[in-house]
Amino acid sequence: MRLQIAILSLVAFAGGAYAAAPMEDYKKVPMPPGFHVEATELDGPVFADAKGHTLYQWPFKALRNGITGDPKGKSLCEDVVSQTNAGYMSPYPGGLIIPDVETRPSCTQAWPPVLAAADAKPVGAWTIIARKDGTKQWAYDEHPLYTSHLDSAPGDVIGATSHSGRGGEHAAVRKPVGPPNNLPPGFEVVSSNNGRLLVTAQGNASVYVSDKDTATKSMCDVTCTIIWKPVIAPEFAQPTGEWTILERSPGVKQWAFRKKPLYTNITDNREQSLEGSDEPGWHNVFLTEAPPPPKEFTTSDTTAGTVLADKNGKTIYLYICGDDAVDQLACDHPGSTQAFRFALAGGGDPVRANQRFPMVPAPKDAKPTSRSWTPIDIDPMTGKRGKAGDPGVLHVWAYRDRPVYTFAKDEPGDYEAEGLGEFKGTRQGYRAFWLRDDFYGRMN
């Protein structure tokens, strides 16, 4: 069990409904007319345009052999179709013709700039930059804003999430942008496969709550505090929104969130740990839980943690891909080139790729269970969207509109394909859908 608020509203669609993403408490920031804040399932509150489409930035990123992304006050995303790779990623040189270049979109086709009217005026952190073609573009914190051609509904983060490209040597990816969460100083929220995890700002240590506590009383005594360290509130701290303060002992104040006092666990030795929740009665804190996968999915314990698994217990993988053109477009979506995936999964052969990394079939009558989990139809020979019922077209589960996979050689509990690809699969390759990654990565 995790601490979170109840989800009340539903999103209806033809043939069903699923729970709408709750709106997390956020700090109200001034916005120009026509913009508002939308709730997302995976990234909390985001800025959106009048249609509800999520706004993104393209942060500057140093790659192995160069730097790309938008610097402050300038957009490098242009209406030009990149023909060749840039050679940012070692060891391959630039100047090589990109696969399927004839169908590759330009940067602005994939990421339409959020244009400002000629008479638009800056508002707060919202500023206006001049594009190369003479048009004006909105920027937030001086970074130009875009929408994604993949998003179609309010709250979509199909284009990218703040979780996209976490760790490793990923492409210079886009990130959704929104108002800051309404948190006291010293706390942060990070997006994860499990949801929006509350952590300390310094050290990204997980914070926990205990079943035994109430809003005004901590039951964690001196012995308990050897392991569970109360998150101390400064003397001048004030309650705000879902945040309150209790006095543990005269003059010692502790933060509470959603009526539960907060602690860190002294034995956690990595960021964003979930290990404290193994102790009965103790829980991590999620502002919003990630939407659950469709019911036929399971979980599987491995030697490194817990993964999402198919109905047979086989590890679920996501395919990650960013090309190496100057505009660093993603190549992980059925709408993009499949040449990279077919190369990695099948040595260039789609049949072999589908045998080694089969997509996870969805029942014929499967319906979306959230914005994140949807059934889609894929022509496995092209990797592109297919027409339901057409010969060979597969009805498969997709996460953020991208098929999910298993690996043929895996047995339940295996994750043999983890990191298969370029730069451990962070640039192009397969990564398991980790729900617990306790033994993965560096310690603090």
Binding site: P91, P99, N269
Partner: protein, 373 residues
């Protein structure tokens, strides 16, 4: 028992005479060691000429790419160049290589005599032991990337031992009456959950730390061996199969051994020596390819498709139904420090490893378990 452990830890940490006595009986007949270093052992002469008379391999991924696709103005696609080379690494074959590959040509190697025989391809150890089986050394010994300790692949894999805990490997010896001679020793391999205790420079491993056991995820890594201590050296019987957690650049992988055995020089504070056996070839290769991108392989002229061909050619054990060997003789060189394993949750703690940075919204110093005991 708690007092005993604390006293022993203090004694070890202070380097008192008791810890360095000629013979040593560990408290309760139990002593554990934690791996701080491991890398594939290679015999390296000062200039490399003895084992690599042709020099080190010059044909890494960059060099091969340049030879195959010279910068001559030809317009090329990623499919026929970049992705073709990646495919060659992901789907390697045993066809003859178009590039030369320099294998170790010397006769000396560290390692162990795994098959009990002295064959024509066997090495002789630097101290004169004949019959050393270490064909993996023959494959990697002239590849700079893989020569420890400076070779980047070897360096980063070893660094991962310190920085990560996926590969927190411990060997616990029980029924120990003497650390000098004892003919009946049980050895259990465990995985720990904590930092390795370091000195205050952050550069040196210190004996006497504590490790909680990973009993949730690491059951697969709990393995049992039997052996004996002869003149301060632990020698175990081979076990049919063993799996050792391994990491490089944070990717959790494993090394799969057959007939794995230990040869470790012991003292109350440290153990050094070899973990030897036959290593699964496919697993060794894919572990390397997954952990080390082509970029990292390029640091030291390590070309996966070329290495694979030699690896398969030099594999010397466990033939499959077609008679093709699936495993290759190898040895890990290892260093370990003594550690106290906490078998029960909340059990006695001798010395807590470096705590996490817990200064969340306060400057208060973190409370440690050790403070409270």
């Amino acid at each position: 028992m708690k007092k005993l452990l604390l006293a022993a830890a203090a004694s070890l940490a202070l380097g008192t005479g008791a810890a360095f006595a000629a013979d040593f009986t560990p408290p309760g007949g139990t002593i554990a060691y934690l791996v701080t270093d491991f890398f594939w052992t290679t015999y390296e002469s000062p200039d490399g000429k003895e084992e690599c008379p042709q020099g080190f391999n010059p044909w890494g991924p960059r060099e091969q790419f340049k030879a195959l696709f010279p910068d001559d103005g030809t317009k090329r696609t990623e499919l026929e160049t970049h992705l073709a080379r990646e495919i060659a690494g992901w789907f390697p074959d045993t066809k003859p290589d178009t590039f030369p590959f320099y294998e170790v040509a010397g006769t000396k190697s560290y390692g162990m005599n795994l098959d009990g025989k002295i064959g024509p391809n066997d090495f002789t150890s630097p101290d004169g032991e004949k019959g050393i089986d270490n064909e993996l050394y023959r494959v990697i010994g002239c590849v700079l990337n893989l020569r420890p300790p400076e070779g980047p692949t070897a360096y980063f894999a070893n660094r991962a031992v310190m920085e990560e805990r996926w590969n927190r490997v411990m060997f616990e010896l029980t029924k120990v009456d003497s650390l000098t001679n004892d003919d009946d020793i049980d050895v259990t391999i465990y995985r720990g959950r904590d930092h390795i205790l370091m000195d205050n420079t952050g550069n040196n491993f210190v004996p006497g730390g504590s490790q909680r056991l990973d009993t949730k995820w690491g059951k697969k890594f709990t393995q049992h061996m039997h052996g004996r201590i002869i003149n301060g050296t632990l020698i175990t019987d081979p076990i049919a199969k063993a799996v050792i957690p391994w990491s490089s650049f944070t990717l959790p992988t494993v090394q799969k051994f057959k007939d794995m055995r230990l040869k470790l020089k012991l003292d109350p504070q440290r153990a050094t020596g070899l973990i030897a056996g036959y290593v699964d070839v496919e697993n060794w290769y894919m572990q390397t390819v997954k952990s080390e991108s082509t970029h990292h392989q390029s640091y030291g002229q390590s070309s996966p498709p070329s290495i694979y061909k030699v690896l398969r050619r030099r594999a010397d054990a466990y033939p499959d139904e077609n008679g093709v060997n699936t495993a290759i003789s190898a040895a890990l060189e290892t260093k370990m420090v003594q550690v106290y394993i906490i078998h029960e949750p909340g059990g006695p703690v001798a010395a807590l490893s470096a705590p996490m940075k817990h200064a969340a919204v306060t400057d208060e110093a973190p409370i440690t378990i050790a403070d409270a005991k």
